[in-house]
Symmetry: C2
């Protein structure tokens, strides 16, 4: 390791000490300049000039080690590349940015174990707070969430005893089902749903939909509730199988757990009937989430707008209170919804 006696630069980065030497003050002086204030106008000017000249920036590393604060929030998401997640993080970032926090993301690509890895990474990185945009919440998740030394807020699932912001999935699905059933009384319906491991989508949203359809006299037999992954391809595949099944009476309605799945269903319907879903004899397809792209291309199909952006905002707000006062009582917030095209 070599450096010049002028202390200008070593390797690449400059330290507060070197800068102090250069200016002719103590390192603490520089530190105060950077933080509290307590510096004479004269020194203030000299330091400012030296910083300008050298391009010095303090090491967050060392600062964080010393202060135990990072002004960083880690957000763990199951997937980037969906509108839903994009809206949530936009809401989170809006609030965080205003308060001087920066957000870093960990993407798990729908791998529940990777979620815990990221949470632990963030906890030890460390960040000041964490947000988990949740899908499957395992016992291991719950344990971690409750025992975490770093404040954490869950978005998208209700977890008892943990700070969380979630949607009224059951209520929304019920309302969507009810309205669709009202317009198509006695329709022959199927559902393309997802794993029950995702409680909000796999259970609550499903039960709400079944109940909503039932109020309009539509019963969906178990055999017509099929499981798909959270992808367009999977929605296509399951719908295709359903439509090709010779034992199946003609379908009037295919309700899907998400808009991504609905997109796949629409593709299958279009291929099978030669006309878009909801026109002519082709069954109507419903979704969930109000995906802008899908709405535009399709010209509009029944779905639900959930206010994902708001969930991000509320989640970030809750996290900030928690970071400022870690003893804040856990709270859960349920957001409303808006049915679209039904």
């Amino acid at each position: 390791m070599t450096w010049t006696s002028s202390g200008a630069r070593r390797g690449a980065t400059m330290t507060i000490k070197e800068l102090a030497e250069r200016v002719g003050v103590s390192p603490a002086m520089i530190s105060r300049y950077l933080n509290n204030g307590y510096v004479s106008e004269e020194n203030r000017a000299k330091i400012a000039a030296a910083i300008e000249e050298t391009g010095f920036t303090p090491s967050r590393q060392a600062r964080n080690l010393r202060t135990g604060k990072t002004s960083l929030v880690g957000v763990v998401v199951p997937k980037i590349s969906t509108e839903t997640i994009g809206r949530v993080t936009a809401g989170v970032e809006e609030v965080l940015g205003r308060q001087g926090y920066q957000m870093i993301l960990g993407n798990t690509d729908n791998d529940a174990s990777a979620e815990l890895d990221y949470l632990r990474l963030f906890e030890r990185y460390p960040v000041d707070g964490m947000i988990l945009v949740a899908t499957e919440v395992t016992p291991a998740h719950e344990r971690f969430l409750r025992e975490s030394k770093t404040p954490v807020v869950v978005i998208g699932q209700r977890v008892p005893g943990v700070n969380c912001v979630y949607h009224d999935d059951e209520g929304a699905a019920f309302e969507l089902g009810r309205r669709v059933a009202e317009k198509r009384p006695g329709a022959s319906a199927a559902m393309i749903w997802v794993t029950e491991k995702d409680r909000a989508v796999g259970i609550e949203r499903r039960d709400g939909m079944l109940a909503g359809l039932a109020t309009g006299g539509i019963e969906v037999p178990d055999a017509r509730v099929r499981k798909a992954a959270f992808t367009t391809a999977s929605g296509y595949e399951q719908t295709h199988l359903l439509l090709e099944d010779p034992a199946t009476p003609a379908l009037d309605l295919v309700c899907c757990a998400t808009d991504l799945i609905a997109a796949g269903a629409m593709k299958a319907v279009l291929e099978r009937y030669g006309e878009p879903a909801g026109t002519g004899n082709a069954p109507l397809v419903t979704g969930f989430g109000d995906n802008e792209l899908a709405q535009a291309v399709s010209g509009g199909f029944p779905t639900v707008h959930l206010g994902n952006r708001t969930s991000g905002v509320r989640g970030a707000e809750a996290l900030i209170s928690l970071m400022e006062n870690p003893r804040t009582m856990p709270a859960s917030t349920m957001l409303g919804f808006r049915v679209v095209n039904a």
Copy 2:
């Protein structure tokens, strides 16, 4: 600040020193256990047991400060919530994960100045390497990229003198234009394009498209090349204006800079003609990027598949070489493409 004399835990986290006390060895021993190895079988077992019992994890903070290494790569993206970005980061993560690196994301929401903020954050956090998924590359960007002390790779734009991986936007657009023009000779065409600040999309892709169409005898007057933002809503708006313009002879073809924009165009066409783009009298809409959702819902429209995932893979590979040997010569890689539905 209080802690028990057994040294088990203070406040929240445990340190290497406390663990050492508990086991009855020196802190250095624990450190060696965690890193080099130089530990007797006997102590190894005792330490392993104590770690298991306490759930101890070393502070990355302190380790990083000491070693100057983080095993972390920062990726700056212009947008989360698009399939394109999702594919790139999936490719990046695949390679990085295999090599023991973790990836953290910074999302700028299409704000070019935020890009530099994030790069600087990462540089000083620090991370071992950075990837910029670029859109607009300003002189400030170029300066930063060239002078960065942390290895950095650019994906999506060609930047001379900087390590980068990009697509053959011009070639792809040319080929798409050529094929479409071949099937619709003499078509009356318009283009919905984007800012020239994004060189790859705004200039190269546009020029390729114009040239490709021209080979089939289709000339697009300047007045029919309209600017949109990178959104579905903006694509809708511009197309709507175009279709409503009474001075405009009926259009046969609307070529768009991206699939998101194309989705908006399709919505406008559907509203205006009462039938989906490309059917009956409704003009054909082309896109760029092979968005899965849009393809499914529309039943297929001409577009280009760019291999975004591959760009992520190649970019990450380049970054790893760079991190292992910072003196590696800068290289730029151009990837191929595949025209879809044309």
